[in-house]
Symmetry: C2
Subunit: 332 residues, 2 copies
C-alpha cells in the first residue's frame, strides 16, 4: 500500500470510530417517544443487530429498513393526501372530459365518499388519474406536485400537508441511520408524489423511495430528450405489491419494517421471514384527541388482519396516544 | 442545540473535512489509466463539480453516475455473458420443452449464431428464457445464477466470467465515490444476474443496480411468504428504456454516464441535457490484442450512432488500447 493510501485508510478508520462513538454514546435515542414497551423494543433490536459481539449482528450493508408512508410517516385522514391532490388535478381536467360525469370513481372522489372509494378499490381511481395527467412530461408533473404541496392546506389543521409528518417517526428514521441503517419508503403512493419532499422531511433521497409507478416513455422532441407519462399505472406498490417493489428496487430482504395498515401486512411478513432478529412494527392510530382514532372499520388505512397477525406474532404495536410525546410538531 | 448534539455535529463536520482533504489530496486518481485526453477530462470534470467555488459545483446528493455493465464494466464477447447463462439454463430445460426445437430464438442461441440473434432482437430471446426459468422462486433463481457464476468459465480465457471486469472502470468507480458520487449500474441485463456479484466486483450494492426485470408475484405457501418469477419480462432496461429505468429507480438526472454501445445512447443524451458540466463517456473496444476490436459492424455491443453523436458532441471516447494500462487484471 502506498503512503497516501495508508494515510487515507488511517483517517477513514479514525473517523469511522469517532463517528460511531459519537452516534452510540451521544445521540439521544428517540427523544420524542415516551418510555414504554415500544421504545424499549426498538432500542433493544438496534443494539442487538449493531453489536458486533451479538449473535444477531447484521453488517451495515444489510441493515435495510422499510417504511410505509401514508399513516406511518405522515397522516392520512380524512383522505390519503395524494387523493386530495388527484382530486384537484381531476377538477382541473374535468372540463376536457365530459364523459367523467358518469364515471363512478370520479363521482366518489368529487364527493370524497370514502365508503364508495374503498368499495371501488384503487384501480378505477388510478385509471382516472392516469387519464387526467397522462401525456404530461415528468418535469411538468413534478412541478404540478410541488405547486400543489406549496399551496394546498389540510382541511382540519389549515397547514401544508407536509407539516403533517410525525416527529416520532422522523426521530426513528434518524436513529436508525445513526446506527448504520439505510432507510427506504415503500408506499402505495406514487413515487412522483413523495420524491419532491421526502429528502427534506425524512432524510430519504429519491433513489430510496419505492412506490406505485405510472408508465413513462422516452422520446426526442426538437432534438431534446424527454420522458412523457402514459395514462396507465405500470406498478401498484400496495399489499402483495410491496414485497415485489422491495425486490425490484432494493433487492435485499429488509430486517426492519414499519407500517400501519393491512396494505403493509405482506411487507411485514416478508421481513419477519428472514433469519436472526427482525423488527416488525405497526403504528396504531388510537389518539382521537391529537389525530383520529381508527383501525378495523376504517375505509382509509384499514388495520384489521395485520393487527391480528401482529398480536399473534408479538410484533410491536405503537400506541400513538401513549408512546408519542407529540403526534405533530405544530402541537402546543 | 444540546451539548451532545453539538459535539456530534462538530465531529461529523471535522471528519467530513478530514475525509474530503484525504480524498482530494491523497487519493491516486485512476492509477490504471494512462495519461491522455480521456483521463484528463475525467479528472477535470470531477474537480469542477466537487470544487465548492466552481460555477459547476454539484452538491453530493446530486452527484449521480450511471454505468452500463456489458462492454462497459466487464467484457461482452464472444456473447453477452447473461446469454451464455441463459443458454445453459435453456439446455437444462429443453427436455421439458420439445416445442423449442422449432423456435428460432432457441436455435440461434444453441448455435451461438450472433447474426441471427442480432436479427431476432432481444424480445423472443427473453421470452424463451422466461419460459425456461419462469415459476422459480426468486431465491431459487438467485442460487442458480450464483452456482453458474461459480462454475462457468470464459471460452477464451478459461477464467470465471467475473474475472473479466475491467480494472480501469473499477478505478473510475472508486475515484468517483471517493469524490462523493453515488454510483449505479444501468444495464440491459437482468437485475438478478448482476446483483449477486456487483457489490464485490464494483462496490455497487443491489439497491443501486437498475436492469431488466421479469414479472414477480407474491404468494403465501405453507404459511411462508415467497416471491415467484413469472414467464414474462415486465421491463427492458435498454436503449430508450434506460432513461425510464433511471427515472423509475433513481428519480434524479445523472451528471455522468458511461456506456459503450448504441444501447447507451439515450442514457447519455438524457445525462447531457441537464445544466452545468456533464460527463458523457464511451468505452471504445479497439484493442484486438488484449480483448476484441469491434464497433459499427458488431452484432454484440454495436457502436455506431452513439459513436457519431459522441464525435459530434465531443463526448469522451476511451481507447481501451491507448488509455488503459490493462484491460483485465489477470494480464501479465
Amino acid at each position: 500500500m502506498r503512503r497516501a493510501d495508508k494515510m487515507r485508510t488511517f483517517w477513514s478508520w479514525a473517523c469511522a470510530l469517532v463517528l460511531a462513538a459519537a452516534a452510540s454514546a451521544q445521540a439521544p435515542a428517540l427523544p420524542s417517544w415516551n418510555d414504554g414497551d415500544a421504545r424499549t423494543r426498538i432500542v433493544e433490536f438496534v443494539k442487538a443487530v449493531t453489536d458486533s459481539k451479538s449473535k444477531d449482528y447484521v453488517a451495515p450493508s444489510d441493515r435495510i429498513a422499510v417504511f410505509d408512508n401514508d399513516g406511518t410517516l405522515w397522516s392520512e385522514q380524512p383522505l390519503y393526501f395524494q387523493f386530495v391532490y388527484m382530486l384537484d388535478q381531476l377538477k382541473a381536467a374535468a372540463p376536457k372530459h365530459p364523459e367523467w360525469k358518469d364515471n363512478a370513481a370520479f363521482k366518489a372522489l368529487a364527493a370524497q365518499d370514502k365508503a364508495a372509494l374503498a368499495k371501488l378499490g384503487e384501480k378505477p381511481i388510478l385509471e382516472l388519474l392516469g387519464q387526467a395527467v397522462g401525456g404530461m412530461t415528468v418535469a411538468e408533473y413534478d412541478q404540478s406536485v410541488r405547486d400543489w404541496l406549496a399551496s394546498a392546506r389540510h382541511p382540519k389543521y389549515n397547514k401544508p400537508y407536509t407539516d403533517l409528518v410525525y416527529p416520532a417517526m422522523q426521530d426513528l428514521l434518524a436513529y436508525l441511520r445513526a446506527n448504520g441503517f439505510k432507510t427506504f419508503i415503500v408506499s402505495g403512493g406514487s413515487v412522483e408524489f413523495m420524491r419532491p419532499w421526502a429528502e427534506k422531511a425524512y432524510g430519504i433521497p429519491p433513489e430510496q423511495v419505492v412506490g406505485s409507478q405510472q408508465e413513462v416513455t422516452f422520446e426526442m422532441k426538437d432534438g431534446k430528450p424527454l420522458l412523457r407519462r402514459g395514462a396507465k399505472f405500470s406498478f401498484i406498490d400496495d399489499g402483495p405489491g410491496k414485497p415485489v417493489g422491495i425486490y425490484r428496487q432494493i433487492g435485499k430482504r429488509p430486517i426492519a419494517a414499519f407500517g400501519n395498515s393491512d396494505g403493509d401486512l405482506q411487507m411485514l411478513q416478508v421481513t419477519a421471514d428472514g433469519p436472526g432478529q427482525r423488527l416488525m412494527l405497526l403504528v396504531h392510530h388510537d389518539d382521537d384527541v391529537r389525530e383520529v382514532a381508527y383501525d378495523r372499520q376504517s375505509h382509509i388505512g384499514k388495520l384489521d388482519k395485520a393487527l391480528d397477525e401482529a398480536t399473534a406474532k408479538k410484533w410491536v404495536v405503537v400506541s400513538m396516544k401513549k408512546d408519542w410525546k407529540k403526534v405533530f410538531a405544530f402541537e402546543k
